[in-house]
């Protein structure tokens, strides 16, 4: 066991991380609600704002909340199984906190203030093609911030490795590779080669040791890409092959999911046996599964690019090879669910809000795993790739598995981290069940919409999907409101309103003993629901007025600029037309010196002295390969761009 000072250090780390993560949840969760409302036509956001919010929500909820929370709780898991955070490990743990908080703040600034909206996967070279929605500064600030968050992952991994490979491992060998083998549980398989004294490593250490090495390998290439992207924002001559960049992104992008899942597994391994009152039911095969996971984790990225197989590339072969490696990752999940399920089976499991959240989290894990197998199968992925099915899948993973685990761990561990009893078990029950049930509906509807072909990342979905989107809205509100009792409960607990923590013989915190005359829980619940409803309504109304769709034809003033050039006078603002030319993507197909464009798909426009009416007609109706822009551009924009092209083509 570790001494009290060691426990205090780990307590402080876990608290700092989870408090910051919980604050990030509050913001990023609300952004998610705004997006779904907007899709349902309730407070429709301008597209630039929608996609900026989408970027902030993705990174914020995924890394800033769920990731950050389990990263913090990992320090307490390690302390609980006898691994104190010391020396360099402690420095790295603290550095991680600062890097992550700074990174998330930078991401907030670049998205919500500078309108960076290239999505959290910022698929290169999209960050450099803002189409007028964001500029090079937004790209630079975003790239730098994402880099800080990436560095936070690396420093966390180093800190974890420093801690698990230290003297607390009780490994016999001094060889680092051997010690790492001990830390990922190989001693369960080969007790003599990976010898420990006196017992093999505790199960919760294994997934942490696995992910700590994998994430270093996964993050470094992305860091290089981010630096290049940052430089390219100001020096366009620097560039990368987009297909390579896509592979690099997913080389990081898949393992980062397991930066959430593997520490979550460590927490399940620690907490489920405690509530079941008996040790984890696990033999030595689980160590084999984690060994497979350690290797497979870094060779599965291509399942995110199953539908990229351009001619003359080997991508199709890489993709095919990665279906079996992805399938291999089913093993650690399947074995973990077996172990945890049978640890609960026929035990005298104590059902508290915390343990219920953990149990429902395992259900979420199963649901996400099953939809994940669909995504991992190339022949099935073609039907669901980039549809809302994927959104349903990863919300099952992120909120109904990792999220419920974080909530459960918060209820289970807050009393031992703070010495204060949980303020209200009743609020916690409400929170856990409402989150699970409303989440099931909201995310289940995404799965259905996805199977019907609904595309993801659409500010406005094709109208065929409107019905189910609107059906989900009340449940979205319930899901959002269900979080209010969580925040209130945590806040009141931290303020010591639940009294001093007491624990039963298993180490499970007991319900708070409330002094007489205090506020009743029922009154509080009522107040919270009313206040939250009011807030949600206010946010909805504010969203509606802030972000009404600007793409509808609007504006009362018509600027008529008479210019000579081309075949005569043009009605329309040529300067505005130049901006339309750039943002509508005309230059990608057409060469026009006045716009500096060099596209070769469509006819060259220079020197052809085109009539305004002809250009207007082509833009409006299209011809041959050229699509119609009617409805996509406003009347005003069509006149402007026609004026600009007519003038430019005469030069």
């Amino acid at each position: 066991m570790i001494d009290e000072r060691g426990r205090d250090v780990a307590r402080a780390l876990a608290l700092w991380y989870t408090v910051a993560a919980t604050a990030i949840l509050a913001v990023s969760g609300l952004l998610g609600v705004l997006m779904r409302d907007s899709q349902a036509g309730l407070g429709r956001l301008r597209p630039d704002f929608f996609y900026a919010i989408m970027t902030a929500h993705g990174l914020g909820a995924f890394l800033g909340w769920a990731g950050f929370a389990v990263m913090g709780l990992a320090w307490w898991v390690l302390a609980s199984v006898g691994f104190p955070v010391r020396g360099a490990g402690l420095l790295l743990a603290r550095l991680t906190w600062w890097l992550m908080v700074t990174g998330v703040l930078g991401i907030v600034v670049s998205t919500l203030l500078l309108d960076f909206g290239a999505s959290w996967v910022f698929l290169y070279p999209l960050p450099l093609h803002g189409a007028g929605a964001w500029g090079e500064w937004a790209t630079a600030v975003f790239s730098a911030s994402a880099l800080l968050a990436g560095l936070a992952i690396v420093t966390w991994c180093l800190g974890i490795l420093h801690t698990v490979l230290g003297p607390a491992l009780h490994a016999v060998s001094r060889n680092w590779a051997n010690r790492y083998g001990v830390a990922i549980g190989l001693g369960y398989l080969w007790p003599r080669r990976f010898a420990t004294n006196p017992v093999p490593v505790a199960y919760p250490v294994i997934p942490l040791a696995v992910i700590a090495l994998d994430m270093i390998v996964a993050t470094l290439p992305l860091a290089v890409l981010l630096v290049i992207q940052l430089v390219q924002a100001f020096a366009p001559s620097v560039s990368v092959d987009p297909l390579l960049a896509k592979n690099v992104l997913w080389w990081f992008g898949h393992p980062v999911v397991y930066l959430l899942l593997f520490p979550a597994a460590a927490l399940y391994y620690l907490l489920v046996p405690r509530y079941a009152g008996r040790p984890l039911v696990a033999g030595n095969v689980i160590a084999l599964a984690w060994g497979i996971a350690a290797i497979a984790n870094v060779v599965v990225w291509a399942h995110h690019v199953y539908l990229d197989y351009p001619e003359g590339s080997v991508q199709g072969a890489i993709n095919t090879a990665m279906q079996p490696t992805t399938f291999a990752l089913v093993l650690p999940s399947a074995l973990s669910l077996y172990s945890l399920g049978f640890t609960i089976y026929r035990s005298s499991f104590r059902w508290t809000p915390a343990s219920t959240a953990l149990f429902l989290g395992l259900v979420g894990w199963l649901l996400a795993g099953l939809s994940g197998i669909v995504n991992a199968t190339i022949a099935l992925d073609v039907a669901v790739h980039n549809t809302l099915w994927i959104v349903g899948h990863f919300h099952h993973m992120a909120l109904l598995n990792i999220g419920l685990l974080v909530f459960g761990a918060t209820y289970a561990l807050l009393p031992e981290l703070t010495g204060k009893a949980l303020y209200s078990e009743r609020l916690a029950w409400t929170h856990v069940w409402l989150t699970f049930s409303s989440g099931m509906v909201v995310f289940g509807l995404w799965l259905v919409q996805g199977l019907n072909g609904a595309p993801r990342r659409f500010a406005v979905l094709p109208h065929e999907y409107d019905t189910l989107t609107r059906v989900s809205i009340p449940f979205v509100f319930v899901l959002a409101l269900a979080q209010a009792p969580f925040f209130w409960n945590v806040l009141q607990t931290l303020r010591g309103k639940g009294g001093v923590a007491t624990f039963d013989e298993r180490g499970i915190p007991e319900p708070a003993r409330r002094p007489a005359g205090a506020w009743t829980v029922t009154a509080l619940e009522g107040a919270i629901v009313l206040v939250s409803l009011g807030l949600a309504f206010a946010v909805g109304v504010a969203g509606f007025f802030l972000g009404r769709d600007s793409r509808a034809p609007a504006g009362h003033t018509v600027t008529v600029t008479v210019t000579s050039g081309g075949t005569g006078a043009a009605a329309g603002d040529t300067a505005a037309g130049a901006r339309v030319f750039a943002s509508a993507g005309c230059g990608a197909c057409h060469t026009l010196a006045a716009a500096g464009s060099k596209g070769t798909v469509g006819p060259r426009l220079d020197g052809r002295a085109l009539a305004v009416s002809l250009v207007e007609d082509r833009v409006r109706n299209g011809k041959g390969a050229m699509p119609s822009f009617e409805g996509r551009l406003s009347e005003r924009q069509i006149r402007d761009v026609a004026a600009f092209v007519a003038q430019g083509s005469g030069q």
Binding site: A383, L451, N452, P455, A584, V601
Partner: protein, 171 residues
């Protein structure tokens, strides 16, 4: 819903029902305390490992031959060139005949796009990713005449959701 979508819906539905049943059984088993043979369960972990391995191997063998890579259209194919730009599709020609294979050569001039083709009742027929400056080939035979819709299925920026075009299929 497309044919593949229906297969997924049925398989996933069954798996969820089985999973939920197991979860309820595990929950109800805790209501009365009963003994459990730990050692047997730990030995059975190995059996479970091989069950999962067998199921995943079967799924692999059952699906890996249906990858869309390296399709060829054979003789008499029609050719359509599709170019993605922020935020439009250029489709050339925009009309094809039903019943004969169509080879789509898809490319992008700026960022990553994704080409998804939907039929008149909004079923997703096929899709393919479109990385910039590369050509992606995909073959499809339209069985029915009508107006088909092309959407962008890879997020490409501000007007991603408006990046749509039509393809006419005649008899």
């Amino acid at each position: 819903m497309s044919g593949t979508g229906t297969v997924i819906a049925v398989a996933y539905g069954i798996a969820v029902v089985v999973g939920a049943t197991v979860a309820i059984l595990v929950w109800s088993s805790t209501l009365r305390r009963r003994s459990v043979d730990r050692e047997r369960l730990e030995r059975r972990e190995r059996t479970w490992f091989f069950v999962v391995l067998a199921v995943m191997t079967a799924l692999l063998l059952g699906t890996i031959f249906f990858v869309p890579y390296g399709e060829s259209a054979g003789k008499g194919a029609q050719v359509v060139r599709v170019t993605g730009v922020q935020f439009a599709w250029a489709v050339d020609p925009a009309t094809v005949r039903a019943g004969r294979p169509v080879v789509f050569y898809v490319t992008s001039t700026d960022v990553n796009h994704g080409l998804g083709v939907y039929d008149a009742s909004n079923r997703l027929l096929f899709q393919v990713q479109v990385p910039p400056d590369r050509t992606q080939k995909v073959v499809h035979t339209f069985s029915k005449p009508g107006r088909y819709r092309l959407l962008c299925l890879e997020f490409c920026g501000l007007d991603h959701d408006r990046m749509q075009a039509a393809l006419e299929v005649t008899a």
